[in-house]
């Protein structure tokens, strides 16, 4: 399971670190690629821009996607992922501070596999991250495009 990468799309460095720590606390040692905005996330996924030449067939096991992002926001990223034939079935978990019902609905409508609110209580965040890892990295074999 460790050979699978996790793409974390997060602009806040604090949250990035906390997420990484939470994953570590759950002994999830997968390689985590961090994209700091929507464009970067898409470039990575499709081997474009800064990631030109990347083996585009090496899909991450899961994309942890924040919604509030600079340039292209998370929902747009999700839309584009689902719009592309290659990434149509890529597991995407929305990981966000927002507890807005609207965001949640939009996320699911656009094809998010799960929606996790980032709790302020870090213990709960660790718990949530653990559940995420178990589910998406161990139980759920990402479908091959």
């Amino acid at each position: 399971m460790n050979d699978k990468t996790i793409l974390l799309v997060e602009d806040n460095p604090d949250d990035e670190l906390l997420t990484l720590e939470a994953l570590e606390a759950n002994r999830i040692g997968n390689n985590v690629i961090v994209a700091r905005n929507g464009v970067e996330a898409l470039d990575y996924l499709f081997g474009e821009g800064a990631y030109a030449g990347r083996d585009a067939m090496d899909w991450p096991a899961v994309v942890l996607l924040d919604l509030k992002l600079p340039k292209i926001d998370g929902l747009e990223v999700l839309r584009r992922i689902r719009a592309d034939e290659r990434t149509r079935l890529l597991p995407v978990v929305i990981l966000t501070s927002s507890n807005e019902e609207e965001d949640r609905l939009k996320g699911y409508t656009l094809g998010a596999n799960s929606y996790v609110r980032k709790p302020v209580d870090f213990d709960q965040f660790i718990k949530a991250a653990g559940q995420l890892g178990l589910y998406w990295l161990l139980l759920n074999e990402a479908p091959r495009g």
Binding site: L18, S97, N99, P119, V120, F125
Partner: protein, 860 residues
């Protein structure tokens, strides 16, 4: 069918024709028969009379002849020359005698021979007729006739007696002289003056003369006149060959009795002297003539010697009778031939007209039946009266209405149906009507009443129509019960009055006017008078509406629109009152046409000046509201963005604070003392509390922003789910929870969830220190349907109840019960959004009840 009918008609015609014509023809036949019989009888009577007359004539003729003969014989016996000669025997005298005889024979022309014979039968004087050239027979040619029977018989006679021989044919020298010479010998004795019988006079009478005279009588009539001798032989008969049968040996059977019956003959010979009868052989009339007894027209008795007797018979054979009737019969037959067809024709004509009449009668009868049927079925009451006012006919409807049977009314005076109070004058009305009977139509403006059998009255309309019939003048009254109509009219009148009152009391103007040049009002109500500030209705009615328009063009537009569309609604115009004050009016009108097709408008008019002013104000308010609303919208959007930022951006630092504090506590615990760890824990608690505050604030703002999605919500189920979540979070707590099942409300399921989360969460929280916690959810009907959540927890002091639903207001110490103080504010906001109220009852340590209602406005 048609041919059947035709056949039936033909047969009927034939039947009626025969029924009429046959008796007529029979009567004709009978009459003709009677005529025939009468004629026959008359003819026979005439014949009989004629025959009798003929017989009489014959008899008289014979008597007359023999009277003459008798006289002649006696005259000659007393001839002076003869007496003189007898006395003297003088030959001169004898020549005188011969001259006398000659002159006598010549002048008499009756006798064939006139002779004088002496008492010895010797002819002494004789004159022969000699076929019309009488001559005295010479003396030498005189013969003796002593052998002759008549000489002997005559010489035996006394004076004045005459012997008459039978009527026979003269025989000369034993042969019947030809041509036959019917002869009767008459002889009488001659006495001289001394009374000595001296001879006899013999006269040979030429019977042919008598027979000719008799034949002349017979010639005048149709049948024959016969002369028979007493043996029944014909002296004068039907045919010369049948006559003188006794003279000819070959004619012995030619007797009357032989031809017509011996009985008949005997009755003629021995019976009545004169008689007449008719049998199959014809009409016979006879008389017996006996010269010896015949009474000639002389008073002196005559004496004939001899028993000669003759019978004169007339006979008319049946053929002659028939022949005499034949012409008459022919006439009758012609009459029949003419009259019978005439009668048949007459019968035909009569039958035809009779059938026409019958048909017409049948038609009339059926038409009458139809007419009666119609009368019976008529929806109106029909009563027919005669000139005297007596009812002759009454139909079913009239019987029903008046409550009488037909038998109770027929023949009764019409006044029986008139109410008592009008009865006295009614006959006079009738008389007036009869004096000038005209058709009086129904409802000629008279209010009439009729009387039922039970005495009650009902209003009627009556039409009268006179008709002249075979039964005299009849008056047909058609009666209509107008009770229902009267009732309807009354109701209509009441409705009209109510309508008028209603219209007059309406707060809006109601009018009717004509869209002509002047536009006068036809009708207005009180409100119109008020609107136009008129002094009276009359003043307004005389006021031309066209002058009330501030702008005459408006009127034209209004009229054009109504005429084009047929109606108009809330058309706003500027009008002037009669005082000249301008006001705004809303006109609603419909176009109508009266009976003559003229157009008029029915309309409603409202003075909308106030409304106009109000509208203007509302418009102003709306405008400012719109501006405010836009400002609010902007604020709202900003708030939205703000909330989103709060949600995202305020939490991120808190997560960092809490997360990294934890990292420090976990990974650097060995480098911190107790105080340091304590402070870090407090940092974490503070961060988490702030996160809760942010979440609650967001919830509160979300309630404000969210639009309600009304649905049917099972509140009982919702409460159970919330309690179940609470139990999962704190499975160690023992809380007795009861919920009234089936509480269904209308509302937004998410927001109601927030309500139940908070109320039940509070109840859960504030019963945490109770060993036997109880939470109850239910509803009750006070004035309104009220829902409640009750617990037996810490409760609160009602003195602070007004602060209960304020944001960030807490009635408990944070150390005792955690909480942000925003939950009940949120709940109250949700309840208010649902049009409800919320309140609470409690006392410290006595538990609390939170009541709320929903949709109060709708549930009222």
């Amino acid at each position: 069918m048609a041919s059947n009918l035709k056949n039936t008609l033909n047969w009927q015609f034939t039947k009626h024709f025969l029924r009429l014509s046959l008796p007529l023809i029979l009567i004709l036949v009978a009459m003709l028969w009677l005529l025939y019989r009468t004629h026959l009888d008359t003819t026979l009577t005439i014949m009989q009379a004629n025959e009798q007359q003929s017989i009489q004539l014959a008899s008289q003729t014979v008597d007359a002849v023999f009277g003459v003969l008798h006289g002649d014989a006696l005259y000659l016996a007393e001839n002076s020359s003869l007496q003189q000669w007898l006395n003297t025997g003088d030959p001169v005298i004898r020549s005188h005698l011969n001259a006398d005889f000659l002159a006598f024979t010549r002048s008499r022309r009756l006798y064939d021979q006139v002779r004088f014979l002496d008492q010895h039968g010797q002819e002494l004087a004789r004159v022969n007729w000699n076929d019309g050239k009488p001559e005295v027979v010479a003396e030498e040619q005189l013969q003796s006739k002593l052998d002759s029977y008549y000489v002997r018989k005559t010489l035996a006679l006394n004076e004045q007696a005459v012997f008459m021989s039978p009527f026979d044919l003269n025989i000369e020298h034993d042969v019947i002289e030809q041509p036959i010479k019917p002869t009767i010998h008459l002889s009488t004795p001659v006495f001289d003056s001394k009374g000595q019988k001296r001879g006899l006079i013999v006269l040979n009478y030429r019977g042919q003369r008598l027979l000719n005279r008799l034949r002349a009588i017979a010639d005048k009539k149709s049948g024959g006149l016969w002369f028979l001798n007493k043996e029944g032989y014909w002296i004068l008969g039907p045919h010369p060959d049948m006559e003188w049968g006794f003279m000819y040996p070959d004619r012995q059977t030619m007797r009357f009795g032989h031809e017509y019956g011996e009985d008949t003959w005997l009755s003629m010979l021995k019976g009545l002297q004169i008689n007449q009868w008719q049998d199959e052989k014809g009409l016979f009339t006879y008389t017996r003539i006996t010269p010896a007894t015949a009474k000639i027209a002389s008073t002196e008795p005559e004496e004939y010697v001899g028993n000669e007797q003759w019978i004169a018979v007339t006979h008319i054979p049946p053929s002659s009778i028939s022949a005499s009737m034949a012409g008459h019969v022919r006439d009758l037959i012609i009459a029949f031939m003419v009259l019978a067809p005439l009668l048949a024709l007459l019968s035909g004509i009569i039958t035809y007209h009779d059938m026409r009449r019958r048909q017409a009668e049948a038609d009339a009868r059926s038409s009458e039946a139809r007419y009666r049927g119609l009368l019976e079925l008529a929806p109106d009451g029909i009563v027919i009266t005669n000139r005297n006012g007596c009812i002759t006919m009454v139909n079913a409807q009239a019987q029903k209405w008046f409550g009488y049977t037909k038998d109770e009314l027929i023949g009764q005076p019409i006044e029986k149906l008139v109410p008592e109070r009008f009865r006295a004058t009614h006959p006079a009305h009738r008389q007036n009507y009869l004096a000038n009977p005209v058709v009086r139509p129904m409802g000629a403006g008279l209010e009439l009443y009729a009387r039922r059998s039970d005495g009650s009255e009902f209003p009627v309309e009556i039409s009268l129509s006179p008709s002249e019939t075979e039964q005299g003048l009849l008056v047909t009254s058609i009666i209509r019960d107008i009770t229902a109509r009267k009732q309807a009219e009354k109701v209509q009148e009441q409705t009209r009055i109510r309508y008028e009152k209603l219209v007059n009391n309406l707060p809006v103007g109601v009018y009717r006017n004509k869209p002509d040049k002047i536009g006068k009002f036809l009708e207005v109500n009180q409100a119109m008078v008020d609107i136009f500030e008129a002094e009276s209705t009359e003043q307004l009615l005389s006021h031309p509406f066209s002058e009330s328009y501030c702008d005459p063009v408006d009127r034209k537009t209004f009229i054009d629109t109504v005429i084009r569309q047929g109606h108009i609604r809330d058309h706003e115009v500027c009008l002037k009152t009669m005082q000249g004050r301008e006001f705004h009016a809303a006109l609603t009108a419909v176009m109508k046409k009266d009976a003559s097709g003229e157009i008029f408008f029915d309309g409603i008019m409202q003075d909308i000046s106030e409304r106009k002013e109000t509208e203007r104000k509302v418009q102003q308010l709306n405008e400012s509201l719109r501006v405010r609303s836009m400002e609010l919208e902007t604020i709202n959007q900003e708030l939205e963005a703000f909330s989103y930022s709060v949600s995202h951006d305020l939490r991120a630092p808190l997560r960092a604070i809490d997360g990294f504090s934890r990292t420090l506590l976990n990974e650097y615990a060995d480098r911190l003392d107790d105080k340091g760890r304590d402070r870090l824990s407090r940092v974490r608690a503070g961060a988490q509390r702030m996160a809760s505050l942010i979440d609650d604030l967001l919830k509160l703002s979300r309630v404000t922003r969210t639009e309600l999605k009304w649905k049917s919500v099972d509140l009982s189920l919702l409460a159970s789910e919330v309690i179940e979540n609470l139990r999962q979070d704190e499975p160690n707590r023992a809380v007795q929870f009861s919920v009234q099942p089936g509480i269904t409300v209308q509302g937004d399921v998410h927001l109601l969830r927030v309500v139940m989360d908070n109320l039940l969460g509070n109840a859960w929280k504030f019963t945490s220190q109770r060993s036997e916690a109880r939470i109850e959810v239910g509803c009750k009907l006070d004035e309104k349907l009220t829902y409640y959540v009750r617990d037996n927890g810490a409760g609160f002091d009602m003195a602070y109840a007004d602060k209960l639903f304020g944001a960030f207001q807490r009635l408990h110490d944070a150390s005792e019960f955690s909480g942000t103080g925003i939950g009940l504010a949120t709940v109250q906001r949700v309840i208010h959004k649902h049009g409800g109220r919320i309140w609470a009852e409690s006392a410290v340590d006595q538990g609390a009840i939170f009541y709320f209602t929903l949709n109060e406005k709708e549930n009222k």
